[in-house]
């Protein structure tokens, strides 16, 4: 469902305001984890993966199953991330690679993939909603300064994870030799190949990394929020909103987009529930009216 269930908000106006902010900013952390894979793959390969929402949901199911069987949340998260990495790479190699430079055709094929995945998940897991249990070691609350109230640590943990991933990606892409190869490969594939670098292998690794990111996001998001049939469409929408607002292909853009969609979305849900969707949507339209390429996007 659209309405993201954060921590129930009770009490006076000030408490409500602060808790809504906390819900929004931690949700932004989740959005960042979800959308960073999408923008990474697009930014470096010009491939837009519209099965991204289906990937998120599939990772949720896989990590729920593994966590349930092994009784260990971390195993579940790793299983979700790695299996999606493998599945994503397979889809890229078998279905997309041949048409990599036909952007729209690739986008359409991934939409077809999302249909097939959605149906397969419905057949296996049915129409019920699932939610993975928070690991005991992270199941505690921390006090909010000045309010005398406390907030669940796990949601803060998600935000911390997002910050760590953001910094890691930034260092990887702009400071390491691998990042330099990747950036060069995007600008001039032929030249980089001539230098003796296997560009095809680089692309496979990027697709793997992007899919691992969304797989990990599915494991984390499947713990903070329930998931089931239809969740794929919801998270595809969130990811699209985030990358369209922030600018497709920019990691910093994803961070800004996540914060805007997460925080403003939560205030909208909290204060004007009927029109929450319209408010986020109007924000998207207004930003695009002035910056069609998104806040940090490059001119097309």
């Amino acid at each position: 469902m659209w309405v993201q269930v954060g921590v129930p908000v009770r009490g006076d106006a000030m408490t409500q305001f602060i808790f809504t902010f906390l819900n929004g900013i931690t949700l932004a952390g989740l959005y960042f984890l979800v959308a960073s894979g999408l923008t990474l793959i697009f930014g470096l390969m010009r491939v837009i993966n519209l099965a991204h929402g289906a990937f998120y949901l599939l990772a949720g199911y896989i990590s729920w199953t593994v966590a349930d069987k092994t009784d260990n949340w971390f195993f579940g998260a790793v299983a979700g991330a790695l299996s999606l990495g493998v599945i994503g790479t397979l889809i890229y190699v078998l279905l997309l690679r041949k048409f990599q430079y036909e952007e729209l055709r690739v986008a359409l094929i991934t939409l077809g993939v999302s249909l097939v995945l959605a149906q397969a998940m419905l057949a296996i897991f049915g129409g019920e909603y699932y939610q993975t249990n928070i690991p005991d070691s992270l199941q505690f609350t921390i006090p909010v300064p000045g309010l005398g109230l406390s907030y669940p640590f796990f949601r803060i943990f998600v935000l911390l994870l997002a910050v760590i991933v953001a910094i890691g990606l930034w260092i990887f892409i702009s400071k390491t030799r691998y990042g330099a190869i990747i950036r060069a490969g995007v600008d001039d594939t032929t030249m980089v190949s001539a230098l003796g670098i296997n560009v095809q292998a680089v692309f496979i690794w990027i697709f793997f990394l992007g899919s691992v990111l969304v797989g990990f996001a599915g494991a984390v998001g499947g713990t903070t929020n329930s998931f089931g049939m239809g969740t794929d469409g919801d998270y595809l929408l969130f990811s699209l909103q985030v990358v369209i607002i922030g600018g497709l292909g920019s990691i910093g853009g994803v961070a800004i987009g996540s914060i805007l969609v997460g925080v403003i979305g939560q205030y909208a849900v909290g204060y004007f529930p009927t029109f929450a969707g319209i408010i986020t949507f109007t924000m998207l339209i207004l930003i695009l009216a002035f910056r069609p390429q998104g806040i940090l996007g490059k001119k097309q």
């Binding site: 519209l50 359409l108 999302s114 397969a120 469409g233 699209l240 998207l284 097309q300």
Partner: protein, 319 residues
């Protein structure tokens, strides 16, 4: 040219006699013919835009949804007559095209595709959320059928012929527009926008008119959908329905106007029949879609051209 005309005539005659020659007419006229005409008109709005602007839009269901919800809400909850609500709904759907077009036409290619997808998904989440207006997930049910000059369109055949009439008129309108100087200028913009600008054309108004006309067709399709399905819910504008339309356009042939109807007929038959074999027909549609995209990206209408091109290439390689 005469060959094309003869083809049109044959297809039209077949469509006219279809309810009388098909076996099991109760099933095939409604689940086959009428459904295909409705989806075909919706897909036509997409094909028209793809052909003339070179843009693939998933936003068509937004316009359909706006028009459909207005008809449903006003007729079921406010007792507004269809004579008033239908034109108003189509007008509102078309005007929403002005706003969306203003934003979306600033983008191109896959950005445009994503943006229009987000627009439709936005309406989906609004419809789910705004319980007081749209009745959320349950949607609005048992929408009455229109009665025009004593003909009750709740019956299968009248509705089929009404839809056939609408489809023929809109198809002819699209063909006509493409032949006018406006249509030719539009093709110029699609093929080389910079050259058209340097020739002194104002490009944005041209694109805008085409976009809004496409929204107009989509709005009509939205009203058709309300009368065919007799209900409207968020799923009517959801991701699955959007992909359904896309499948129709791509399978039929996205660069041909007729492809919309070829694809719609094929998908209507496919979806009606595949349910006898498997409950997973959505997944089956997805596989069909991927296969067509990988092997015949020009769709069924383009398959002869594709084979011809391949033969020419092979012949050239041998020579």
């Amino acid at each position: 040219m005469t060959r094309t005309r003869a083809m049109y005539a044959i297809v039209l005659v077949l469509a006219l006699v279809f309810p009388y020659i098909t076996p099991d007419p109760d099933f095939w006229v409604s689940s086959g013919g009428t459904r295909a005409l409705w989806l075909g008109v919706a897909a036509l709005s997409m094909s028209f835009m793809n052909r003339n602007l070179g843009l693939m839009s998933l936003g068509q269901l937004f316009f359909s949804g706006v028009a459909g919800y207005i008809v449903a809400i006003s007729s079921v909850y406010h007792g507004v007559k269809f004579g008033t609500s239908v034109p108003l709904a189509i007008l509102a759907g078309t005007l929403s095209g002005v706003i969306i077009g203003w934003i979306a036409l600033k983008t191109k290619g896959v950005y445009f595709f994503m943006l229009t997808l987000a627009v439709t998904l936005g309406l989906y989440s609004f419809a789910n959320q705004a319980q007081e207006i749209t009745h959320g997930h349950t949607g609005i049910n048992s929408i009455p059928s229109p009665i025009i000059f004593g003909t009750d369109f709740a019956f299968v055949k009248p509705l089929y012929y009404l839809f056939l009439g609408i489809a023929v008129v809109l198809f002819a309108a699209c063909k006509f527009i493409e032949k006018t100087s406006f249509g030719i200028a539009l093709k110029g913009v699609r093929d080389n926008e910079d050259r058209m600008i340097s020739m002194g054309y104002r490009v944005l108004p041209l694109k805008m008119i085409a976009f809004v006309f496409s929204a107009f067709i989509a709005s009509i399709a939205g009203v058709m959908g309300v009368f065919y399905v007799t209900n409207i819910s968020p799923d009517s504008v959801g991701l699955l329905r959007s992909i359904d339309l896309l499948v129709i356009v791509v399978v039929g042939g996205a660069t041909y106007l007729g492809g919309a109807f070829v694809g719609a007929v094929l998908i209507a038959i496919f979806e009606a029949k595949i349910q006898d074999f498997t409950v997973y027909y959505v997944g089956a549609t997805g596989i069909l879609f991927i296969v067509v995209l990988m092997l015949a990206p020009q769709g069924l209408m383009g398959i002869t051209a594709q084979i011809r091109a391949k033969r020419a290439k092979n012949a050239g390689a041998q020579a």
